[in-house]
């Protein structure tokens, strides 16, 4: 077995009286594609929000790359190597595709204020060096034609792709994808699946994926976690989970 990248231990998250996540534990191995599935309201997105520091769980710990922490700010998560995309696209909609992906390089840029003011030497070189990286990502995602367009005007499928590009620009160790294929047609889904597999194989990025399309999940994922009403009801290989009675009950309901 390969080494462990992320370990979620007994995490419980409450909002007032509502328990969104209850005592969930699972791990993500380095280099795998790990799917998180479950019916609506199962706590999948909350789980991602806990992992990248938007929500602070009341109980439990999260160990990322051997470091255990309970509270973490989102920008600290970004600095430690966690990137994500959102269920409903959260791009900087007035900025161009280029600038959106450039924004993902913010952490790699550290030239000071004075040098930026005059845009000379170091600041300019840094900008150009990062631009090269960004162009590589643009080529990889096959979106050079929309480089200059404000993303707010792009069709939905392309926006999702730009958002993936922006997350990739961070060169993350762990990439969290929240429903990357929601609302896409078959062709767009196939494209997106190809990109996800390529990212995983070419860059060796570990991916945690929330997705409702079971076909996609079964094809892409190495292992699957199933949540229902904030509890973990299944964990294992796609085929095992598919055959699990608890999972089937959660999706189809049980006769009363």
């Amino acid at each position: 077995m390969s080494e462990e990248l992320l370990n979620v231990q007994n995490v419980t998250l409450r909002f007032g009286g509502v328990t969104a996540i209850e005592d969930i534990s699972f791990d993500i191995q380095k280099g795998e594609i790990r799917a998180i599935i479950g019916p609506n309201g199962a706590g999948k997105t909350s789980m991602l929000n806990v992992i990248n520091g938007f929500y602070h769980p009341q109980e439990g710990t999260i160990t990322f790359r051997g470091e255990t922490r309970r509270k973490m700010k989102p920008y600290e998560a970004a600095a430690s190597g966690i990137a994500r995309t959102f269920q409903n696209v959260a791009l900087f909609k007035n900025m161009s595709t280029l600038d959106n992906i450039m924004s993902g390089r913010s952490l790699k840029m550290n030239r000071g204020f004075i040098s930026q003011m005059f845009y000379y030497g170091p600041a300019r070189e840094e900008e150009i060096a990062q631009r090269k990286k960004v162009e590589e990502i643009i080529d990889f995602l096959e979106i050079p034609h929309i480089r200059r367009q404000p993303v707010g005007k792009l069709p939905y499928g392309l926006q999702k792709r730009v958002e993936l590009g922006r997350a990739l620009a961070l060169e993350p160790d762990l990439l969290l994808l929240d429903e990357p294929m929601a609302g896409m047609n078959l062709e767009e889904k196939e494209d997106m699946s190809r990109f996800i597999l390529d990212v995983n194989q070419q860059f060796g990025t570990t991916i945690a994926l929330i997705e409702h399309d079971m076909g996609v999940v079964m094809d892409l994922a190495d292992r699957v976690v199933v949540l229902d009403y904030g509890k973990k009801i299944g964990d294992g290989l796609p085929a095992e989970v598919q055959a699990d009675q608890a999972v089937i009950d959660a999706y189809l309901g049980v006769p009363h």
Binding site: Y75, A77, L91, F92, R111, R124
Partner: protein, 359 residues
């Protein structure tokens, strides 16, 4: 027809990232600078410089300041007038405490006091957004204005309670004070405004400017890209207030000659805000257009009856021009809610595709 980029190939990212990547834009800018620098000083009358060009440039600088905060970083502020006042009063104090140092240094330093005030009153932006933030910046407006009146040390306890410009020379030429030639004052203001506009455009296209726009467009995602909201918002407040502070100092020393606290009241804040809205949020050129629309257009409209030789009373002209400008503002906002800068952009796009309707 003339505005085409066909044949202009960029072979390096360096040339692609230039401020004006299109040749025609560079020529246009060169022409404007040449007219501003050589043409206007030769042909303009003192009155034109004093009542149109100098205030236009100064208010455009203030509009750039507010645009950095509101247009680029998305933080609404109604404290612009007060931050300009901080710049003006600190410039006055510096000039009277160190009379031997050139006024240009004082003016550029006074912006830092305004920046400090901006950061302090920008702290609420870490918790509140939008209109509610605008209300908290009103606190800056009222508190600072009160301070300008009550704290005698600021105006050296003089009887009138006003601050005056301090006559100064640079290389033997009088640049401030009643004896200074309007052309000299105009050229000093022009150089400072052009220099600071260039600085602003550099900051905006780099990492810091991007971090502001990220906060503006989607603060949650910005944090996930590793942006610390504290740094981004407060740096926007600081840079924005710096520009406003310098504009305030220029206003007293190169335009009005003397000013009371009342000059920096909320009307000034609103005036600058309207310039930003009419000119275009998030556009430097829009700040100039907005300043021209809100400040210069009324002056021009008021002179129309006199130029045409119509005998209309001064009060009537005043009322009619106010109504005309009100109507024009409404009209422009209906035609293009994103401001004059967007109209300009659309115009350029159309020119590029001409004679075809779209490219």
């Amino acid at each position: 027809m003339f505005y085409r980029e066909a044949g202009q190939f960029k072979t390096s990212y360096k040339s692609d990232q230039a401020i004006f990547p299109i040749l025609q834009d560079r020529i246009g800018l060169g022409l404007i600078v040449a007219i501003a620098l050589i043409g206007i000083p030769f042909i303009a009358t003192d009155g034109f410089l004093n009542s149109i060009m100098i205030p236009f440039l100064i208010l455009a600088l203030a509009a750039i300041g507010l645009n950095i905060l509101t247009g680029y970083c998305g933080q609404l502020s109604l404290g612009t007038g007060a931050f300009m006042g901080v710049g003006a009063y600190s410039c006055y104090k510096l000039a009277t405490i160190f009379p031997d140092v050139t006024i240009l240094v004082h003016i550029l330093l006074s912006g830092f006091f305004a920046a400090a005030a901006g950061v302090i009153f920008g702290l609420p932006s870490l918790r509140i957004k939008g209109l509610y933030l605008a209300i908290t910046t009103l606190a800056a407006q009222f508190f600072l204005e009160w301070m300008f009146v009550r704290w005698g040390w600021l105006f050296n306890y003089n009887e009138s309670g006003a601050i005056q410009n301090v006559p100064q020379k640079l290389f033997g030429v009088q640049i401030t004070g009643a004896a200074a030639d309007p052309v000299t004052r105009y050229l000093v203001v022009l150089s400072i405004v052009v220099f600071l506009t260039w600085i602003a455009s550099n900051i905006i296209r780099g990492r810091i400017g991007r971090s502001w726009m990220m906060i503006r467009d989607m603060d949650i995602a910005a944090e996930l890209m590793g942006i610390k909201p504290l740094n981004a918002k407060l740096s926007a407040f600081a840079v924005s207030s710096y520009f406003c502070g310098v504009a305030g100092a220029l206003m007293v020393f190169f335009w009005l000659g003397s000013a009371e606290a009342d000059v920096f009241n909320i009307n000034l804040s609103f005036q600058v805000l309207f310039m930003v809205i009419i000119g275009g949020m998030g556009s430097l050129i829009g700040s100039f257009m907005g300043a021209a629309f809100i400040f210069v257009l009324p002056v021009v409209i008021r002179t129309i009856p006199r130029v045409l030789g119509l005998d209309i009373g001064g009060a009537t002209v005043e009322h009619v021009s106010t109504m005309a400008i009100g109507a024009l503002i409404v009209l422009f906002l209906i035609v293009e809610p994103h401001g004059l800068a967007r109209l300009w952009q659309i115009g350029k796009e159309k020119l590029r595709n001409w004679p075809f309707p779209y490219g």
